[in-house]
């Protein structure tokens, strides 16, 4: 389902025109470690049903921002609202509800090393829901196949998997509860081009069928071109530009130019 540029433009336009609801909104977030400020008064909105690609140079704080949104890294100021709930002020029950509705794929996979892949996928189901073991097993296998892993991977331990398989298994765990919002930290890095294309296709499919919203930190220009509705560029401690891929191609900030119209970017065409 690799869309043409026109279709993507139309889709992005759709979102703009219907004034889509924000699933995630970040306002004035400042994060720093010691005397070093990583993010300074950063604002960001993610709309329902869109795939937002997040790019930025190494060490500009893409992962820090994702961890801040997830509440893993403390911030100095600002608010983060997910599904309209401010996680600082929400009750325990509200927080739990939000946690059920998001799924996270960490950069290194972060699978629980003492559990098999199947058990890893079932962890969120066991924690949050009361399903029969049969259904849980079937759903785990289904998720496994959805992300393109063979069934015999189900009973393997993470240490027995290759890097790409860990990525996929971790995505399967992120999708275990059929979340509304998934955070993907460099999902296609370490995958072969065919695998990466299948991954993109999968994300696009899930978005089409389930109305998934995707927040994706990526450096994969192919993903950015093929599935991202909007792209945000992180630089100078804030969101430098945000817009469609065409906006990026037209932008004349030096970093954006060298990223989207640099030697590597042009060679792929």
């Amino acid at each position: 389902m690799i869309d043409t540029q026109e279709e993507q433009m139309a889709r992005a336009g759709d979102h703009n025109s219907e004034h889509a609801e924000n699933v995630l909104s970040v306002r004035g977030v400042t994060v720093g470690f010691g005397s070093k400020v990583i993010l300074d008064k950063l604002d960001l909105d993610v709309r329902r049903g869109e795939v937002l690609g997040f790019v930025g140079g190494s060490g500009t704080g893409k992962s820090v921002l994702m961890r801040t949104i997830l509440g893993l890294t403390p911030r100095r100021s600002g608010t983060v609202e997910v599904f309209g709930h401010d996680l600082d002020r929400s009750s325990e029950a509200e927080r739990k509800m939000v946690e059920r509705r998001w799924g996270v794929l960490f950069q290194q996979g972060a699978l629980f090393s003492s559990l098999t892949v199947k058990q890893n996928i079932q962890v969120p189901m066991r924690e949050h829901l009361d399903l029969s073991p049969k259904l849980m097993d079937e759903l785990a296998t289904l998720k496994l196949e959805l992300v393109g892993l063979p069934q015999d991977a189900a009973d393997k331990f993470p240490s027995e998997l290759s890097g790409g398989m860990i990525k996929r298994a971790s995505l399967a765990r992120a999708l275990a509860l059929d979340p509304d919002l998934v955070f993907l930290d460099e999902p296609t890095s370490g995958l072969d081009p065919i695998g990466a294309a299948a991954f993109d296709q999968l994300i696009a499919n899930l978005r089409e069928t389930l109305g998934l919203t995707v927040y994706m930190v990526t450096h994969d220009l192919d993903s950015l071109h093929s599935i991202c509705d909007r792209i945000a560029v992180l630089g100078e401690k804030r969101v430098l530009v945000i817009g469609t891929i065409d906006d990026m191609m037209k932008n004349d900030h030096p970093w954006v130019v060298s990223y989207f119209r640099g030697e590597r970017a042009l060679r792929r065409i």
Binding site: R100, S114, M125, E138, L142, E145, Q151, L177, E208
Partner: protein, 381 residues
Amino acid sequence: MAFLEKNTPPACACESDHDVLRMRLSGDWAISTAAKAETLLEGLKLDPRQQVVIDVCNIGALDTSGAWIIHRLRGLLEFNGSRVSLEGLSEKRQVLFGELEHHHPPVFKPERTRISLVRLLEATGRQVVAIWHDLLSMLHIFGSLGMVLVTVLFQPKRLRGISIAVQFDRSCIGAVPIVTLMSFLIGAIISQQGGFYLKQFGADLYVVDLAGILVLREIGVILTAIMVAGRSGSAFTAEIGAMRMREEVDALHVIGLSVTEVLVLPRILALMLALPILTFLSDMASLAGSGLVAWAYLDIPPAAFLARLQEAITMQTLMVGLVKAPFMALIVGLIACVEGLKVEGSADSLGRQTTMSVVKAIFLVIVVDGLFAIFFAAIGV
């Protein structure tokens, strides 16, 4: 759309019209309601001869879990011989069901563990083999340690002085406060307990003999070795284990460095230097503790305590204890490194090997102490 904050429970209305059964599904069919949906469909009694139409157009929210439950029902009905069709699918949902049709999870098998004699025997056999392998790998490390030591003799530069110093600092100097404190208390307790019983025979002064010989020959070195096994042995296992988990040990191999030379030798040498020193300090602290209690509890003044001590023990008594220390250190260090190198990819295995390292080290320390006792008795010391 999967996890709605408020969801309507799934419902199913069946109407039979001649030989066509129409199932109207409504409500939300999502993962949050999946348990209800499953019980709802299990409760249905369907006639296999009927043709079934599943009408899904009134369904609110639908996600992969809900779709799977419907898909599973359809599969089951078809297996029983009914003709089944889905009606009212929007285009998006068609894609979802289309996706599901590619997947055929294996038949569900609940996990069962059986307790049987064969299994017990098998486990015992495996244990025996594991112990044999442990022994082999200890000998392996011991052998390569010997090789490395010989190389170091000819090329003293390859001895990693800084690394040894760092390990020595951690395992010896860092351990001094806790080892001396513990020994001081043990010495005091021995003195008090011994004094309590010896007092009844008017043999108070023999407390000095008891404490002196017991502490110097046995207690000092054993307690210190156990403390070091728990403190430094576990640290060695965890360090080397974490390095194995993150492929650092493999990196050493590839760069062409010997793991024994870089990781094992400095640790074991540092420990073999540290343990005699710690044992000596522990001996002194125990004697101080015991002397203090003798003074306070048994009214033996320090001067009398020291005079009696000089009669009771000789240099040999002290040496019997100290001579054991490097051997204990070697055992603790070897086991710690062997267990560390056995760690595999999971956090679970790191924890297991660290536990095993401490347990085995303490056990072997006591066994070796017993062997030394036999040896010293045989040579008449």
